[in-house]
């Protein structure tokens, strides 16, 4: 790192907004994924102007930059693969405006997802995207990764809830796309930037839609002896046109770990459960719940439990949303995969995932968004053993490849990042990459912003910027 860049940053940000000591930087070398990459400097801007100045200085010094929210991402999207300056948005965490009449909020990127819902729920409103990490993850990160969550089954992912962005391009240029009014004239630039994984621009302000809470909610827990029965239930619910707000599956093994941790009353001796939430008008909730109950029983559900009150409902969801944390107690490390398959293929996919675990001699848990076919197999391993680490990585790749063979996709909500960039050729041709690269280069021509993401190294933008000191995760 050039010392004159550090000095220039210190001059306008102050040294309390900059980390440069190795033992501070080490905290920013990882996120929720198994990848690692250490930045050379971490800076904490407080305003959009700060961001513009940081980006300009970095560009002048030809140093890569990467934006970061809370670092909860699961694909290495917020890691400094090219070293350089990491811009952490933790201090840009203000809700700038809530427009109740027009159902919009304007927020800074560092606002925590759940904090926005908390700020507007008194008016019967909420922010619909609800990743499991919503207590910690930021809306800026949600925008970069186009984050999902359990309830995106009914309400769509982040991109369906963003109408405007303020952007800082990699040359320091400030731009606005969209606003409070939906679908502006011209190309849908919000649609392009949301989910571009921080490779086109940094987001410094976001205008989001607020949603109205439904009149009635019913949460059901279907308990099954086998995983097959649970997945067949999901297939039939989809085919019967039941439209739950959420439809989550947890396998029996995962459930035991979760129950030990959250004591939500989950059974310890079943093959799998489905956590299904029906929302809407009271009449519709009653009718759809009856169909859910019927379909679950048709597929041999041992029991279909209905949450009696809000406390019971919250407990069930606590179990679901803390499941990954619960599994952290069972092995030194775990690798949460993210892949999508057509919902009609769920039973086959789950059977194959279990087989792959057995073939590779690894425990694989399954906690996922069954309703939209978004799988999250979770591979447990000990990273201190290189052999085990490599086996886990091979198992993960087997699973993802199988999902693609079924007509699925590499990632449903975590993003490609550096985790899956090398797998992108499974889905995309040279011509596809060529167009994506031209889009990338149209905004980020020197690959100074978040290098080494999305594109496979060698095909991508800025591969030359991947510096040798950047280390992959794995045994030390």
């Amino acid at each position: 790192m050039k010392t004159d860049l550090l000095r220039a940053l210190q001059r306008f940000l102050g040294s309390e907004a900059i980390l440069s000591r190795p033992d501070d930087l080490v905290l920013y070398e990882y996120d929720g994924s198994v990848e690692k990459a250490r930045p050379e400097l971490v800076v904490f801007p407080s305003t959009t102007e700060d961001v513009v100045r940081i980006v300009r200085l970095a560009a002048e010094h030809d140093v890569p930059i990467v934006g970061r929210g809370a670092g909860t991402g699961l694909s290495g999207g917020a890691l400094a693969r090219g070293g350089g300056v990491m811009i952490v948005f933790a201090r840009m965490n203000k809700i700038l405006e809530v427009d109740y009449e027009n159902l919009r909020a304007v927020v800074q990127p560092g606002v925590v997802n759940l904090d926005l819902t908390r700020a507007v729920e008194h008016a019967g409103l909420y922010f619909a995207p609800d990743p499991s990490s919503q207590k910690a993850c930021t809306i800026g990160g949600n925008v970069s990764e186009n984050a999902g969550g359990p309830h995106t089954l009914a309400y769509g992912v982040t991109t369906n809830h963003v109408t405007g962005l303020e952007l800082v391009l990699p040359n320091g240029e400030l731009a606005r796309v969209g606003g409070k009014v939906a679908d502006p004239l011209g190309y849908d630039l919000c649609g392009l930037f949301v989910g571009s994984e921080g490779t086109l621009a940094l987001v410094t302000e976001i205008t989001v839609k607020l949603s109205r809470k439904p009149e009635a909610v019913k949460t059901l827990l279907g308990v099954f002896e086998t995983i097959d029965d649970a997945t067949e239930t999901v297939v039939e619910l989809t085919a019967r046109a039941v439209t739950p707000a959420a439809c989550e599956m947890l396998d029996g093994w995962t459930l035991c770990a979760v129950e030990d941790y959250v004591h939500a009353g989950f059974p310890r001796d079943c093959g799998a459960v489905l956590l299904i939430e029906i929302e809407g008008l009271a009449e519709s909730v009653v009718a759809q719940s009856a169909v859910v109950d019927e379909v679950c029983r048709l597929h041999h559900a041992r029991e279909v439990r209905v949450a009696r009150d809000n406390a019971e409902r919250e407990l069930l969801w606590k179990g679901r949303k803390n499941a990954f944390g619960a599994l952290g107690r069972l092995a030194p490390s775990n690798y949460v995969l993210d892949a999508v398959i057509p919902r009609s293929k769920l039973p086959r996919a789950l059977r194959r995932i279990c087989e792959i675990g057995r073939e590779r001699g690894l425990q694989v848990g399954n906690i996922f968004h069954a309703g939209d076919g978004n799988l999250h197999p979770l591979v447990l391993f000990d990273p201190r053993s290189r052999e085990q680490y490599e086996r886990a990585m091979r198992a993960s790749e087997d699973i993802v490849r199988f999902c693609v063979e079924l007509g699925g996709s590499l990632t449903g909500e975590h993003g490609v990042g550096m985790e899956k960039s090398e797998l992108m050729p499974l889905l995309f041709s040279e011509d596809d990459f060529a167009l994506m690269r031209r889009i990338h280069d149209a905004f980020n021509p020197d690959a100074l912003l978040n290098p080494g993401k999305i594109f496979p190294l060698g095909k991508g933008c800025g591969e030359i910027r991947i510096r040798t000191q950047t280390a992959h995760a794995g045994p030390a």
């Binding site: 427009d99 009449e101 186009n146 999902g148 769509g156 992912v157 731009a175 606005r176 796309v177 606003g179 409070k180 009014v181 679908d183 502006p184 004239l185 011209g186 190309y187 849908d188 630039l189 649609g191 392009l192 949301v194 989910g195 571009s196 109205r212 439904p214 989809t238 085919a239 439209t243 809407g280 008008l281 009449e283 519709s284 999508v340 057509p342 919902r343 009609s344 968004h369 939209d372 978004n374 007509g407 699925g408 990632t411 449903g412 909500e413 993003g415 899956k420 889905l427 995309f428 041709s429 011509d431 596809d432 060529a434 167009l435 994506m436 031209r438 889009i439 990338h440 149209a442 905004f443």
Partner: protein
Amino acid sequence: MTISNERALSRLEAALGRTIAFSEPSDCAKYAVDGFAPATVVRPRSVDEAAEAVRFAGSEKLAMIACGARTKPGIGMPPAHYDIALDICELRSVAHYDPGDLTLSVDAGMTLSAIEHLLAEKNQFLPLAVPFSARATIGGTIASGIDSTLRQGYGTARDFLIGAEFVNGTGALTKSGGRVVKNVTGYDLHKLLIGSLGTLAVITRLNFRTFPRPTLRRGFLAAFDDEQGALSLRQRITGSPLTPALLEILSPDASRILFGPESKSGALQVGSGSWHVCVGYEGSAELCERYGRDLSRIAQESAARDRLLIGEQRFALLAERLREALPLLMQASPLPIVFRFQGLLAETAALIRALRSFAASSWTPSAMLVRSHGVLHLALLPGVPEESVLKQAAYFWKSVESLRGKLDFHASIQFCPAEWKGELNVWGAPPPGLALMRRVKSAFDPQNIFAPGRFVGGI
């Protein structure tokens, strides 16, 4: 058409064969856009042929406009150049339909009605209730970005288009998204195609999530003396737990044209001189009864002059008239001009007031459709095709500009006589982000061969 272009086009005919590429003036005239006819029409039978035509256009620097059934070629500015029409209607196969997964992948030339029939067999549908529905192709519907009357309940194509394949300006077949309902792999390029008027790529295939067909579809109409009453009912509905599929407001003139005694709308005659709120809702009989009950009560509280519950059959008629509202309004005048606005819900009343006053000052009859999510269509409907109408339209359009800074909205002219476009500039003031849009255009179409000049800011 230069001589070198003519030679190039005969080479194109030679390369693709005369059954696919033809240059008879009478054929070309059918593909005119705003009075400009192409020199050649290409009707590819396969994606490879479409890509070959694009590569040819690129190598010869010829301008190309892709089209479907040509039901609404008048959207946008006249093309700066136009050599080749690329008619994608022969590309109309179903690539993939998995009813159990509620996903569909079809070629861009498939018509909406063919898709409707296909999905109906499995009791599903695609919530794109757009005008010219009998003939329109799915490719044209997406490329034009035309409004659907089901937006209130189902959102826009942006919410259920899950992937696309397209030939970009280099002639390469490329894709974005996939066939799964949740997917964040790679850039979301297919979203850029929606409403891009063919300026980025030739769309060849589109993937959607489909929706279960509701058991029943019913409706509700309420009549009001003024727009305030109608808007107040709308506000009460959107503020209630009800989530109707359709929610539109018609001005008295729009009501008369769509549903008046001369409208051939049969059983749906509505009273004259009123603003009408139209609501469509769906689901089980029990759910529909709840809607009917709640809507009647809310309408009464909003002091509606009349209320009417509409059963399935009559609702189908209502929904069809609303879906076809734009062409129906345009048929009501020899020189119709249709403006499209999009603003904030809380500012709709102010926008309506301003627009009505501008329309009144321009001495031109007008009709207004207040659609969901802040979309508003205003049609100026002069009774006689006089020269002065252009001046009146220009006055109206200029007046709209005076609202900038006072209200948050964007506006365009969706349909008007081609020869007026030079004076009216249908896209209005350049939108924010135009410089970024140009970068997107260059990435997709580096040689600027696709529909040059038709889009926002001269793109």
